[in-house]
């Protein structure tokens, strides 16, 4: 290497000047640096804020018990773990969360594995359709299942119109209507499609030759499954297990709807009530606990994946397994698979829809049907306008579109920009930092992240205004939460394209913007569409992330449905959920149309 001449001060200056001018000429560097600054604030600041909140005295407590506002204190840590109310706000919810997660995950895993095996590898009737239909529950907002359950099994314990069974004259017992049993079942039915997707894709990736070799050695179908296929699925099983547990822990809607009437609290609902009662210290501690559990599960997952890596056989040639003939079992297994579809997707939809069309629940006489809850004309037993006339619904609909829409567009653009900077600046600090920081939000459950944003943006800090109560805050928090998926897909899209198409344009005289417009954007068109529609779908169904950040006027469809439930307007809540479901389905169809991609790859997140 040419060494610097130390006596020549000028040459050093020139070198620095060159370095800077070179970097400034490089668009990826400029984009990267700006992203670093923005993301540092949006990702790191909330985390710091929540840690500091957990150990500093709130203004309220400072006034009540003396002491300085913001002084260091263990008060909230003690309150959560050792105080007299710790049992109520932490230990019991923790126990309940573990119970529910355990059963929900177990059921989801079993359903996912069985259905994936049936659909990918056997000749059950309608396997082609089941592959798509069985992921529908994943597209419904998580409160759909719970409200459908409530509409069906609700008893007189809580206010509002009676449940369908009740109106038939059968009063469901409390244990069937509320609490751990329905929560576990509803969560399992909401989350099994995730297991189904992962198992299906794992099954189709197993190299068919591994099975063929076994059959040449005399193994029958049963032996091939027990000795080869199932053992090869162990790594996937572990991943599904851990990720489903993480999901169930972070779910808010199901325990809120089905747990609250029975005073059955999970960690997520406990966190929510602390937010409602303005206990920001306790909120911070609970959010940290939730995040730590999330991080732990993720670390275990990474460890498991790494440990089993040598086990994973890549190189399935895309040859499909010959579907095995089920013989006598064909009819029963078919009935089972379609029954699950009925319970998890069609059933809730029909129940929700029926409930909004019947003036009195459970009365199937023709005259009882009508559009009253939609049009607002002659609504029985409440002084509420209908769906089409309610200003609240219209506002929520508008907000949902604005918030999910802007968040998804920003997310898509950010994802590609991050991808650009990360891939074009390989080996630099910026690249590594962007990669890591855009992944960080993945570690925090939505509720915890929202709590952090609440504490960060409740008041103005420096040049950043207080955003609480504004739509921008909701957009912002959505963008940051979905960033891990957006940046991951942005990075992989940029990797796939590689630098050459852009360089070929550079050589022919195309400047930066020209390259983006004529070369990169068209090449990334489908990646961009996916990167926008996926967050949009997630955003439309999002509840746990936004439920504690909305204020009157910034309600979304999802939170509005919870408000309706709170007031006992079950039908309106159900109608709202139906609207969300329809919007999401349409988006999914557009996505399929535009990209022809497999949903499995997209909805994995």
């Amino acid at each position: 290497m040419v060494s610097l001449n130390p006596t020549n001060q000028n040459s050093l200056l020139i070198r620095i000047k060159i370095k800077i001018s070179q970097l400034l000429l490089q668009p990826s560097f400029i984009i990267g640096s700006i992203l670093v600054i923005i993301l540092t604030y949006l990702v790191i600041a909330p985390i710091i804020s929540i840690f500091s909140n957990s150990v500093s005295l709130t203004m309220m407590d400072a006034m009540l018990s003396g002491g300085k506002d913001g002084a260091f204190t263990y008060k909230y840590v003690e309150r959560v773990f050792t105080s007299s109310i710790s049992e109520k706000i932490f230990w019991t919810p923790l126990k309940n969360s573990i119970t529910v997660s355990f059963f929900a995950t177990l059921i989801a895993l079993a359903l996912g594995l069985i259905l994936a095996s049936l659909v990918t590898s056997t000749n059950i009737f309608g396997r082609r359709y089941l592959g798509f239909l069985l992921i529908i529950p994943y597209m419904l907002p998580s409160q759909a299942m719970a409200t459908a359950w409530l509409t069906m099994f609700k008893n007189r314990k809580i206010s509002g119109p009676p449940g369908m069974l009740e109106s038939f004259g059968f009063t469901p017992p409390d244990w069937l209507a509320y609490g751990p049993l329905p929560i576990s079942i509803c969560m399992a039915l909401s989350y099994f499609p995730f297991a189904f997707l992962l198992f299906s894709s794992a099954l189709s990736k197993i190299d068919i030759q591994l099975e063929e070799v076994a059959s040449t050695l005399g193994a029958k179908t049963k032996a091939i499954w027990t000795k080869i296929i199932l053992p090869l699925l162990i790594p996937t099983t572990m991943s599904v297990l851990l990720l489903t547990v993480a999901r169930t822990l972070g779910t808010f809607a199901t325990p809120y709807i089905l747990g609250t009437p029975a005073k059955y609290t999970l960690l997520s609902t406990s966190l929510y009530s602390s937010v409602r009662s303005n206990e920001s210290g306790v909120v911070a501690v609970l959010a940290i606990v939730l995040s730590l559990i999330g991080v732990m599960l993720l670390l275990v997952d990474i460890w498991v994946v790494r440990k089993w890596q040598r086990f994973v056989t890549v190189g399935g040639k895309g040859i499909k397994r010959q579907p095995s003939k089920l013989g006598l079992f064909r009819t029963p297994t078919t009935i089972f698979a379609w029954l699950i579809f009925l319970l998890a997707a069609l059933g809730p939809f029909v129940v929700l829809a029926l409930s909004t069309l019947m003036r009195e629940p459970g009365n199937f006489s023709f005259s009882n049907f009508g559009l009253a809850y939609w049009t607002g004309v002659n609504v029985p037993g409440m002084d509420q306008p209908g769906m089409f006339t309610s200003p609240e619904v219209l506002t929520a609909l508008k907000n949902s579109f604005i918030i999910a829409g802007s968040a998804s567009i920003i997310c898509g653009a950010l994802g590609l920009l991050i991808g650009y900077a990360v891939v074009r600046l390989p080996g630099t600090l910026i690249s590594g930092f962007l990669r890591q920081i855009s992944f960080l939000p993945y570690l925090m459950p939505g509720l915890a992240f929202a709590a952090a944003y609440l504490s960060l943006f409740a008041v103005a800090r420096g040049p950043i205004p207080a955003l609480y109560g504004s739509i921008s805050l909701l957009i912002l928090v959505m963008v940051v939460t979905y960033l891990p998926y957006a940046s991951r897909s942005g990075i992989s899209a940029m990797m796939q394209v590689g630098p050459e198409p852009e360089e070929a344009g550079m050589v022919l005289g195309a400047g930066f913007w020209r390259r983006i417009v004529s070369i990169l954007a068209p090449l990334q068109k489908s990646a961009l569409v996916i990167a926008i529609i996926l967050p949009f779908i997630t955003g439309m169904k999002e509840l746990s992330l936004v439920v504690m950040l909305v204020t009157p006027g910034t309600e979304l469809l999802t939170t509005q449905s919870i408000r309706f439930l709170d007031f006992g307007y079950t039908q309106l809540a159900n109608a709202t959920i139906l609207i969300i479901g329809v919007v999401v389905m349409i988006s999914v169809l557009i996505l399929n149309r535009v990209t022809k991609t497999n949903l499995a790859s997209g909805l994995g997140g």
Partner: protein, 355 residues
């Protein structure tokens, strides 16, 4: 039509060795220069620095009287402004543009009128036999057609300098011969400077008007192809160019052969570390009639000549004989060495010159 001058170029990717290590060389104007070297020696990096796609850590690059890059003055000319043609190993045709759109892209960048674009496209269409392919997308073309589209796209803007990075390595052997001829013809008609990267010494020998042999980030020798072959300046160049390879021998490994070769030269044993003899400079005669005796191990007739594997007291070498070898496998025959293919190298693996 301009010469390319590289001065003390250094490029480090952060590993413990430099990708390009203080490289200085001048490629004369109008030459067809082949940058020849084993994979990983820094050829692509050098080419990309000339194109401006990679920035040197230090050094200077000039093209004619234009400064492309200089770490002394801080000058740097953007790739977009260098007016050069670059062809990637993968061709990098844009999959979302038709053949026509790909080819006229450079003209678009210069805001040429559409009649000008059509005119230029027709010329190139003829030159590269792209009739009827105008509206196809790259995925609908064969490998050879893609190659020709990439060439046409590069030439559409009349670049001063053409840079090609192993453009023939994705083609099958027939097509490769055809494209070699095409490139040679192109160079003769255009007359512009071409820098062509390859790791295939045969390709370099047949195509180039100058070969630059590269090793570990530096250029070991720049010369006309026959000069490289006849007078390699270093052991590396001697070994890299020629097929079958030059026979290499030293005093630890083939003492007897080495001494016999050394006797033919006027160098002292103390100065010489390694000796090399080209296979075609070994003449096969009957036993005891040559400089040394050896046993025939293998005979591979190629049609035009015979490649004969020989063993001289444990050391295996190859000879090429244009006559039927004077014996069969396991026979002992005589070998005599011709001076023109005999090379001696010193302790630094540099050629010892007979003054």
């Amino acid at each position: 039509m301009s010469e390319i001058k590289l001065n003390s170029l250094v490029k480090n990717f952060g590993g413990n060795s430099l990708a390009v290590d203080n490289l200085s060389v001048t490629f004369p104007s109008g030459e067809f220069v082949c940058l020849l070297g084993p994979s990983g020696c820094g050829k692509t990096t050098t080419l990309r620095m000339i194109a401006g796609l990679e920035r040197p850590d230090s050094g200077e690059i000039f093209c004619g009287d234009q400064t492309y890059f200089s770490s002394n003055t801080g000058e740097y000319l953007k790739t977009e402004k260098r007016n050069l043609g670059l062809m990637f190993q993968s061709y990098a045709l844009w999959p979302h543009m038709t053949v026509f759109q790909n080819i006229v892209f450079g003209l678009d960048m210069k805001n040429e009128s559409s009649s000008e674009k059509d005119k230029r496209f027709e010329e190139l269409e003829k030159l590269f036999q792209l009739k009827n392919l105008k509206n196809r997308y790259p995925s609908e073309l064969s490998g050879g057609q893609q190659q020709r589209v990439a060439l046409a796209r590069m030439l559409a803007v009349n670049p001063n300098l053409l840079l090609l990075d192993e453009p023939l390595s994705n083609l099958d052997s027939n097509l490769r011969l055809e494209m070699r001829a095409e490139l040679k013809r192109l160079h003769q008609t255009l007359g512009c400077t071409i820098v062509f990267v390859t790791h295939d010494q045969m390709e370099a020998m047949t195509l180039a008007t100058s070969i630059a042999v590269m090793n570990k980030g530096i250029i070991e020798q720049l010369a006309k192809p026959m000069e490289i072959y006849k007078n390699p300046k270093s052991l590396f160049v001697a070994k890299f160019v020629g097929s079958p390879q030059m026979n290499i021998v030293d005093f630890n490994d083939g003492e007897q052969l080495a001494s016999s070769l050394l006797n033919k030269t006027k160098f002292d044993k103390n100065n010489v570390k390694t000796l090399g003899i080209r296979p075609e400079s070994i003449k096969l005669t009957s036993k005891d009639n040559g400089d040394i005796n050896g046993t025939i191990e293998t005979i591979q007739p190629t049609g035009a000549d015979w490649i004969v594997g020989l063993n001289i007291s444990g050391k295996s070498i190859f000879a090429i004989s244009s006559d039927q070898p004077p014996g069969n496998e396991n026979d002992i025959i005589g070998l005599s060495f011709k001076l023109d293919g005999l090379h001696t190298f010193d302790r630094n693996d540099l050629k010892l010159e007979a003054d």
